[in-house]
C-alpha cells in the first residue's frame, strides 16, 4: 500500500491551505476601521428630522435610497414571473383531491386569517413609526394565505384580483416617483406636506407611508402567488401519483 493511500495528502494540503486563507482573511478583517470618515448614514440621521419619520431605517429605504426599493420590488416581481413561467403547465387541470376536509382546521384557519391579515396591515401602516414596513407586512399577509392553503389545498385564489393589486400598486409606485419630478423637480421627491411637528403621528412623513402601503400590497399579492404556485405544484404531483 502506498503512502498516498494511507495518508490523505490531498485533504491535508487542502485543509491547511484553506485554514491559512481563513486566518489571513481574519487578520485582514480585524484591521477594518469603521470611523475613518463620517459615514453617509450619520448624515442621514442628522437630516432625518426633516422627513418627519420616526423610523430612520424606513426613511432611508423609501426616501433617501428610494430607487433601490423600486429595483427591489422589480426583483420580486421578476422572481414571481419566473416561478409562474416555470411551474405553470399547459394542461393544468386541478382535479380536486378527494380528501376529507377537517372542519376544525378549516374554521380555525379562517378565524386566524383575519387576525394575521390585520397584523400584517398594522406592520405596514406603522412602518414609519416602528420596526417593520411594506416588505415585512406584505410577507405576513402572504403567510396568512399559506395557512389557508395548508388547511384546504383545493382552495383557489382569485387571480384577477391579485393581478389587479399587483399591477395597480406597481404602477402607482412608478407614478408617485414621476409625480415627484413635476412637483418638486426630483424623481421620487417628497411632494406631500410633511411638517416636522407631526413626527410620531400616524399621518406624517409625506409620501413615505404611502410608498410603504403600495409596497405592502404589491409584496403581499406577489408572495401569495408564489406560495400558491408552490402549493399547487405539490397538489398536481399528488394527482399524478393517485
Amino acid at each position: 500500500m502506498s503512502l498516498k493511500k494511507t495518508l490523505p495528502i490531498k485533504h491535508i494540503v487542502l485543509s491547511i491551505l484553506s485554514s491559512a486563507l481563513l486566518l489571513s482573511l481574519l487578520g485582514l478583517l480585524m484591521q477594518v476601521k469603521t470611523d475613518l470618515h463620517k459615514s453617509v448614514g450619520d448624515i442621514f440621521l442628522n437630516l432625518n428630522m426633516q422627513t418627519a419619520t420616526a423610523n430612520a431605517v424606513t426613511s432611508v429605504v423609501t426616501f433617501f435610497r428610494g430607487i433601490d426599493t423600486v429595483g427591489e420590488v422589480t426583483v420580486l416581481f421578476l422572481a414571481t414571473s419566473g416561478v409562474a413561467l416555470m411551474l405553470s403547465t399547459s394542461q393544468r387541470t386541478y382535479a380536486k383531491i378527494i380528501k376529507q376536509d377537517s372542519f376544525i382546521l378549516n374554521v380555525g384557519s379562517r378565524l386566524l386569517l383575519s387576525v394575521i391579515i390585520l397584523f400584517g396591515a398594522y406592520i405596514i401602516i406603522h412602518g414609519h413609526l416602528s420596526p417593520g414596513g411594506g416588505f415585512q407586512g406584505g410577507v405576513v399577509i402572504a403567510t396568512a394565505f399559506l395557512l389557508l392553503f395548508l388547511a384546504n389545498p383545493n382552495m383557489d385564489l382569485n387571480h384577477s384580483i391579485l393581478t389587479l393589486g399587483e399591477s395597480l400598486s406597481g404602477s402607482a409606485y412608478v407614478l408617485v416617483a414621476i409625480i415627484g419630478l413635476f412637483k418638486v423637480n426630483m424623481l421620487l421627491g417628497n411632494f406631500l406636506p410633511h411638517p416636522v411637528s407631526e413626527i410620531g403621528n400616524l399621518i406624517s412623513g409625506g409620501i413615505i407611508p404611502v410608498i410603504y402601503v403600495i409596497v405592502g400590497i404589491k409584496v403581499g399579492s406577489e408572495m401569495a402567488v408564489i406560495v400558491e404556485y408552490f402549493v399547487k405544484e405539490e397538489h398536481e404531483k399528488e394527482i399524478e401519483n393517485a
Binding site: N55, I123, F135, Q136, T143, M223, F230, E233, E234, K237
Partner: protein
C-alpha cells in the same frame, strides 16, 4: 453579559449551520437552516437592528423555510440518489 450572549449565540449558529450542511436528510437540513435564521434574529435584535430582525424573522426564516419545504416535498429526500 452582552458579549457572552453574542458569543454563545454565534457558537450555536455555527453548530446548527454545520449540522445543516453535513446532514444527509434534506428536510432535516432545511429545518436546521431555519435554526440559523432564528439565531440571526436574536443577534440582529442585540445589534439594535429591529427592522432587519423583523425582516429576517418573516422573510429569511419564515417564508424561505416554507418555500423550501413546499419545494422539496416531491423531490428526492436523500442527498444522493441511487
Amino acid at each position: 453579559m452582552i458579549g457572552l450572549l453574542i458569543l454563545f449565540t454565534f457558537l450555536s449558529i455555527i453548530i446548527v449551520a454545520l449540522g445543516a450542511i453535513l446532514s444527509k436528510d434534506i428536510t432535516q437540513s432545511v429545518m436546521l437552516f431555519m435554526g440559523v435564521g432564528l439565531g440571526s434574529v436574536v443577534l440582529f435584535f442585540i445589534f439594535q437592528a429591529p427592522d432587519v430582525a423583523l425582516t429576517e424573522a418573516v422573510i429569511g426564516t419564515g417564508l424561505s423555510t416554507a418555500v423550501f419545504l413546499l419545494g422539496i416535498r416531491h423531490t428526492s429526500q436523500e442527498e444522493v440518489e441511487s
